[in-house]
């Protein structure tokens, strides 16, 4: 088994992993914000509903959710099953939105009341207070937990193999069964390491950029 061909196969597997990572991030970041607003709503039933939903999603394994999203529609409602990749997107986006929403909520609720009140007595509007006073402080607060969660997402994409998505871990593992070699598996680990390394540097950079003030 040549190093070149393994590299090529792993790259194609990584492309799938990356798509799942990126697609999840792109949709779960805004959706999480929406959910966090729901979980902080002054309207009790909505708040209760959203928090229960978040509790369920965070309290059950992502792997279980993947399986349910993929097989559920067909077996429960006799609907034609959805594609593997769609199922993966749906499960990951729902799961990560729930996690992100808790991070947003923590960031928003952590802003002291005094910041809002100081803005109010200075005659600012609600919008001005949010955008000019609160937002950047929230961003600063959520960058560290967000970076943890996003790095976890990189590694969580490997769970998609449970519904036979040909992401990089699955590709690498297939070499054990097919060819009886294990080194591609170690090799795949390097992909994760490098990718997570890049993200770590990126988040570190953002944290440094926001280092000029304290919250």
């Amino acid at each position: 088994m040549s190093f070149i061909s393994v590299t090529q196969r792993l790259f194609s597997g990584f492309a799938i992993s990356f798509q799942l990572f990126f697609g999840t991030l792109l949709l779960a970041l805004p959706l999480g914000l929406l959910i966090s607003f729901g979980s902080m709503s002054r309207f009790k039933p909505l708040r209760w509903l959203v928090r229960t939903f978040v509790w369920i999603i965070r309290g059950t394994p992502l792997m279980l959710q993947l399986i349910i999203v993929f097989y559920g529609p067909g077996l429960l409602f006799e609907m034609t099953g959805i594609g593997r990749m769609q199922a993966a997107y749906i499960a990951f986006i729902i799961n990560y939105s729930a996690y992100f929403s808790e991070i947003y909520r923590g960031g928003i609720e952590g802003i002291p009341r005094g910041q809002y009140e100081a803005g109010q007595v200075l005659g600012m509007t609600r919008n001005q207070i949010f955008f000019k006073v609160v937002l950047l402080q929230v961003v600063k607060r959520i960058v560290p937990p967000m970076s943890n969660e996003i790095i976890t997402l990189v590694k969580d994409t490997s769970l998609a193999r449970i519904i036979a998505i040909q992401e990089i871990t699955m590709v690498a593992q297939n070499y054990i069964a097919d060819k009886g070699i294990i080194w591609p598996l170690f090799y795949s680990g390097a992909f994760y390491l490098i990718f997570c390394g890049i993200l770590t540097i990126l988040f570190h950079f953002i944290e440094k950029k926001l280092d000029y003030f304290r919250v």
């Binding site: 002291p112 005094g114 910041q115 009140e117 100081a118 803005g119 109010q120 007595v121 200075l122 005659g123 600012m124 509007t125 609600r126 001005q128 000019k132 006073v133 950047l136 402080q137 600063k140 000029y212 003030f213 304290r214 919250v215």
Partner: protein, 260 residues
């Protein structure tokens, strides 16, 4: 014409009645200190003046103009509340500076945002912004921070932060400036610099309502002292009257406890 007139303010939180029929008025340039034990409603009163709380009952007049009447509080719009707030300034016990802005930016921010609502803003933008900046620099100089204008709050001591907060409140030229225990969160050696600034404002005839636990300062700076107890103004008068010739037994107890 009184600068401020408060009539029959009542405020409850749930079943607890925190302000019970508070009435007082003050003249332009007058300095009132409010003293009283913890939980007597001093903060709540200031918060009502600044529309951070809505009184259940009562009226507030600024220069004879009614800016709050509990009779028609339901119809009070957000934009109107915002406008009303500008009659007052509030300096918080915990400063509440905006951490991501420098001292100067903290002082300028609200002015800049308000300026955008001016009809001539687009035409005179540069000039307006320069004026705002100059004003901020002057104010910071006035509170003794001309060297610290470009520092962020975390780079300043508590006393310096509180002086920035005072400059920030002054920037909007409020008719009445309120202080809620402006030195309570400070180390004892830093209270002096803040009190000095407030004293200088009093000397310049700034109309102020000061909630304070610093009795010596209240004596020195105020024209009138109000003693609040359990949501009522129990006693009021000149510092001389309240501190030396105390009438009410409750006030005597309160003052005695402080000196013990």
């Amino acid at each position: 014409m009184p600068a401020l007139e408060v009539k029959n303010i009542n405020k409850s939180f749930g079943n607890i009645s925190v302000l019970k029929d508070i009435s007082f008025s003050m003249e332009q340039g007058e300095v009132i200190s409010i003293i009283g034990s913890s939980g007597s409603g001093k903060t709540t009163l200031l918060r009502c003046l600044n529309f951070l709380e809505t009184p259940d009952v009562g009226q507030i007049f600024v220069e004879d103009k009614c800016i709050f009447n509990s009779e028609d509080k339901k119809s009070l719009k957000d934009s109107q509340i915002r406008k009303n707030r500008l009659h007052f300034g509030l300096v918080f016990q915990s400063f509440n500076l905006f951490p991501q802005y420098t001292a100067k930016q903290n002082v300028m921010l609200a002015c800049e945002l308000l300026a955008k609502e001016r009809p001539d803003y687009k035409a005179n933008k540069k000039q307006i912004l320069t004026e705002i900046e100059q004003n901020a620099e002057e104010l910071l100089k006035r509170v003794g921070l001309s060297e610290r204008m470009d520092n962020y709050p975390h780079q300043l001591s508590g006393g310096q932060q509180q002086r920035v907060a005072i400059a920030r409140a002054l920037a909007l030229k409020p008719d009445i400036l309120c202080f809620d225990e402006p030195t309570s969160a400070l180390d004892p050696e830093l209270t002096g610099e803040v009190l000095k600034v407030i004293k200088s404002l009093a000397d310049e005839k700034t109309t102020m309502v000061i909630v304070t636990h610093e009795m010596d300062f209240a004596k020195e700076v105020s024209d009138r002292v109000l003693f609040m107890d359990d949501g009522l103004i129990l006693e009021q008068g000149t510092p001389q009257e309240v501190f030396e010739n105390t009438r009410e037994e409750r006030t005597k107890q309160f003052l005695k406890k402080l000196t013990d």
